[in-house]
């Protein structure tokens, strides 16, 4: 990470929040991996540090984990940053009622209000319960999980 990089500045006094860094694809950007337990606290630090705009929130199932990628930017300038956290499927005891395990995580909508639209979609399509947010699961299975087979329901 380059000196003077805004993310380095933000985490100068809390470097333990960043578990790992890697390059984002072929781009110049870095991906900063976070512990999902510190998600809310890290989000507040980032917002206070100038990343006040959650440009995108993307989720993906990789093996037995759901990986969440937060694309951030500052509304004043062109600084961007990519943060990532993952949660193991079935980390919450109990089933969704459709034979699949929920995943539970913190909502960051209190930090970035624009997160609400992304989170509500992820919640319903990936089966994620957001702490403190009423979740609705009124369909059979979670379509964007890899175990969901179109027209075939849930893969055994």
């Amino acid at each position: 990470v380059e000196t003077g990089d805004p993310v380095t500045r933000i985490f100068k006094h809390a470097p333990h929040f960043i578990l790992e860094t890697s390059r984002f694809g072929r781009s110049e950007s870095m991906v900063y991996w976070l512990d999902s337990k510190n998600l809310l606290e890290t989000s507040r630090l980032l917002k206070d540090g100038g990343f006040d705009w959650l440009e995108n929130l993307s989720a993906m199932q990789v093996d037995e984990n759901l990986v969440f990628t937060y694309f951030l930017r500052g509304s004043q300038g062109t600084d961007t940053a990519v943060f990532r956290t993952s949660i193991e499927l079935g980390s919450v005891s109990g089933k969704s009622g459709f034979g699949e395990d929920w995943v539970e995580m913190d909502s960051v909508a209190s930090v970035w209000p624009m997160a609400q639209a992304f989170e509500s979609e992820i919640s319903r399509l990936f089966g994620v319960k957001l702490r403190g947010v009423e979740s609705r699961f009124d369909h059979d299975g979670f379509p964007l999980r890899k175990t969901f087979v179109v027209n075939g329901g849930i893969q055994p």
């Binding site: 694809g25 781009s27 705009w53």
Partner: protein
Amino acid sequence: VRFEVLKTDPSTWEIGPYHPALPGPMKLRLQSDGELIISARYEIGYLHRGLEKCLELHPWIASIAYVDHLEPEASAFGEAAYCLAVEEIGKIPVPPRAKVIRIILLELSRVSSHLSAVAKMASSVGTETAVHYVLRDRERILDLFELLSGARFSLNFMRFGGVASDITEGFIERVLEVCEMVRHRLKEYNDLFTFNHAFLDRTRAVGVLDRKTVLDFGITGPNARASGVGFDVRKQHPYLGYEELDFETPLGREDEGMLGDAHGRFMVRLREIAQSIEILKHISEGIPPGDFASIRVERDFRLPRGEAFSRIESPRGLMGCHLVSDGGATPARAQFTTPSSAVVGALPLLLKGARTEDLAPILSSLDISVAEADR
């Protein structure tokens, strides 16, 4: 004189999912006190097509036809965001000629989409003459799409590393003709209704979107620019060579009414049409020679492992595509962020305090695409 005050409870309206005042299939649950909306909730998902899941299930070569449906009225933008992400992962070069053809297509699509927004706005305030005039002119742009790609909607024209075919003979001349026609028509629209007192009464100081709401909800595009937030991906993160083009990003003006009101959004779109016309005239005059594509995509096309996040400026604002490839025959994940999702999220805040008769002009001035919000 004694007046009798009739006490009434707030009434509840449920509008949709299909209603002419709505931008598409969605539900609005309003509580109103007389003519004043005191709370608003929305429900979307009626147009959810599982587009992102479909992309995971089909080979790379078939995906362009799917991303076309992200926003059917301006399908070229979904294609562009997706192709840029694929090209970044695969390090696929795009020839200069193909870049220019893409910009021509994108700017024509922007003009077409904004004309459609102008027609919706005119319809919402009952200016039927303007609707017909504007849609008549938009047809000329759809003719150009047909000449270029063979289709008027769902163009399926961009390809990884370029475009599907070269421009046809006489295409550039017709683009320039249409540019000139639209430039003249903008004056006609102004005469017809932009400064018409009835139109001003229905749109000024109505549906005011303040700067804080824009930033809180991540609203972009003409809706944000009308509120003074000058973010434009073509300027901040240029792609396809936009950095070499000289153009301005129109912003809302306080001297024309209230910053961020419905009229301001309408004016920004009209000015953006004029800017796109200038871009089109400029690049059409110097289209470089060379190939229209760097590779030919076959059925067994595969991308190496990797990921990319592309950003483009669609007619409604920031459109992004997060694409992940695991080296397989289909994308491992394709996810889109669309400007309409942000606007829909802000509706409860925006509609609270509005009058019921202003509902249709407010919604049409936001130019929401339910198709891209639902995906």
